[in-house]
């Protein structure tokens, strides 16, 4: 399978696109994130009175120019009904990323060397919910012919490939909250191993619905104590944290083989230098009680990067603001960094946008690349009283200027799946 003897190729980031609770557009969102703004608010799109959690990170409406979402600017109205919201958000982020990269293959060879790998944790939940109501009311024959393709997770990749004529590998990662990192990492591997020269990769999620909220409430994962002060609800590592805040959105990168990018004179944001994965083999929803899965995932990523912990200056934590998970991840980072922990900055940007589930790793990967580019660590909002002390600077409340050469981003998911990705500045 890999017996052709070719050495792995280097992979760089040449385009980025994002829509999230802080708005639409990478630079717009990044500015707000560094300014310490929050995208968490009360849920408006449906009645939440029967739910213990009534807040979320929702994509603001507006125009592209003002950093908000108006779907009509991105997707023809007649096509919108053929896709669940998670696919719509994926198309928005992918469009920004592809435009940003300037990559529009003009020949068949270029199109066949360009693939798509956009995943989702949950997929078309609202679409499935509505279709179920139709069937339950005895109207099975009235089901839309677009129901199945609207709900399927890999249709995000499908739509993006159709829109741009990208005929290379067409794939999707589906690993709950680790999806985004798996998508970026697996796509980078496809390029490194020669399956593609360019991959449009990332994650999308739109689970702020009655069923999605009720489901995560039932598994006791969401914050319920801050319904009246939504912007304070996501507080990773703070002793007052009580669960994660649901978020929606999409993040997409254009990943490209280094020489391919150089030949066409592409703008290069940074390089994907390492990627690691692990499984907890412990519990369906709870992390392993030693943080061992997180530890091994990060260690594998650093090993593949050929980078020692001391060479990493910033970690974008999974840090969802759950009582159990945050300190386990912190412990795993402390153990891996050892005596160098005191030089490390680690923040959780979920404090500002909530947990975007399958999109989280992709959005946070973009933040990590920008942290290197702009030499600044984004803040962990609401970190007033850490539940325990640590040598690691968790960038409480305010962004910090920092020289960052290498950044690592973590994403962990239900099922005990862990993924870590390592970025370096443009070569």
């Amino acid at each position: 399978m890999f017996a052709n003897g070719a050495a792995p190729r280097r992979v760089v980031v040449t385009g980025m696109g994002m829509v999230c609770p802080l708005g639409l557009g990478v630079e717009h969102v990044w500015k707000r994130l560094i300014a310490g703004e929050s995208g968490i608010s009360a849920i408006q799109s449906f009645d939440t009175k029967d739910l213990p959690a009534r807040i979320a990170g929702q994509v603001p409406s507006g125009t592209r120019e003002t950093g908000g979402l108006d779907l009509a600017e991105w997707i023809p109205v007649k096509d919108q009904k053929k896709m669940d919201r998670f696919i719509q958000l994926a198309i928005v982020a992918a469009t920004e990323a592809v435009e940003d990269s300037g990559w529009r293959p003009e020949d068949e060879e270029g199109r066949c060397a360009t693939g798509v790998m956009i995943g989702s944790g949950i997929g078309g939940l609202q679409t499935i919910y509505e279709a179920s109501l139709t069937v339950a009311s005895g109207r099975a024959k009235r089901l839309s012919p677009f129901f199945i393709p609207s709900a399927l997770i890999n249709l995000a990749s499908g739509h993006v490939s159709i829109k741009y004529g990208f005929k290379g590998p067409n794939h999707s990662a589906v690993t709950a909250c680790a999806t985004g990192v798996h998508a970026l990492g697996d796509a980078a591997r496809l390029i490194a191993l020669g399956d593609a020269d360019v991959m449009v990769a990332g994650g999308a999620e739109a689970a702020i619905s009655e069923l999605g909220m009720a489901g995560f409430c039932a598994s006791r994962a969401l914050s319920t104590g801050y319904n009246d002060t939504p912007q304070q609800a996501s507080r990773p590592w703070d002793e007052g944290r009580d669960g994660f805040v649901m978020g929606e959105g999409a993040g997409v990168m254009v990943l490209e083989e280094l020489e391919h990018a150089k030949r066409r004179g592409a703008k290069i944001y940074g390089e994907v230098v390492g990627y690691g994965m692990s499984g907890d083999a412990h519990h369906i929803t709870a992390p392993s009680d030693t943080g061992d899965g997180a530890f091994r995932s990060m260690r594998a990523a650093l090993k593949s990067a050929g980078v020692a912990p001391a060479e990493v200056q910033y970690v974008n934590a999974h840090g969802t603001s759950t009582p159990l998970g945050d300190d386990l991840e912190l412990g795993a980072v402390e153990r891996l960094w050892g005596g160098d922990a005191g030089k490390l900055a680690m923040s959780s940007t979920k404090s500002a946008i909530g947990h975007l589930l399958g999109a989280a790793g992709a959005v946070e990967g973009i933040f990590s690349v920008l942290a290197i580019r702009d030499a600044v660590a984004p803040p962990t909002l609401n970190l007033e009283n850490p539940s325990r002390e640590s040598a690691i600077d968790r960038v409480a409340k305010q962004a910090q200027p920092r020289r960052i050469e290498v950044a690592l981003s973590n994403s962990f998911g239900f099922g005990g799946t862990n993924a870590s990705i390592v970025f370096r500045g443009a070569p």
Binding site: D79, S144, P145, P149
Partner: protein, 79 residues
């Protein structure tokens, strides 16, 4: 224009997102109005809903233009 024709055209405009002027009686859903096979399935379902008629699959397959839709619906309403 008959009531049926007017209603059919309105449904076509809404579902296919095309300009009203393009929805002539001879217009083919797929060749002229940019529909794909799933669009036509959905269109037939919309006709069924709007006119309270049932259009079986073998009949639906033969409805490829605006005119054919109008004729089929009128024949069912008359029956």
């Amino acid at each position: 224009m008959s009531d049926t024709a007017e209603k059919v055209k309105k449904i076509v405009v809404e579902h296919l997102g095309v300009e009203e002027a393009k929805v002539t009686e001879d217009a083919s859903f797929i060749d002229d109005l940019g529909a794909d096979s799933l669009d036509t399935v959905e269109l037939v379902m919309a006709f069924e809903e709007a006119f309270g008629v049932e259009i079986p699959d073998d009949a639906a397959e033969k409805i490829t233009t605006v005119k054919e839709a109008i004729a089929y619906i009128d024949s069912q309403k008359a029956a």
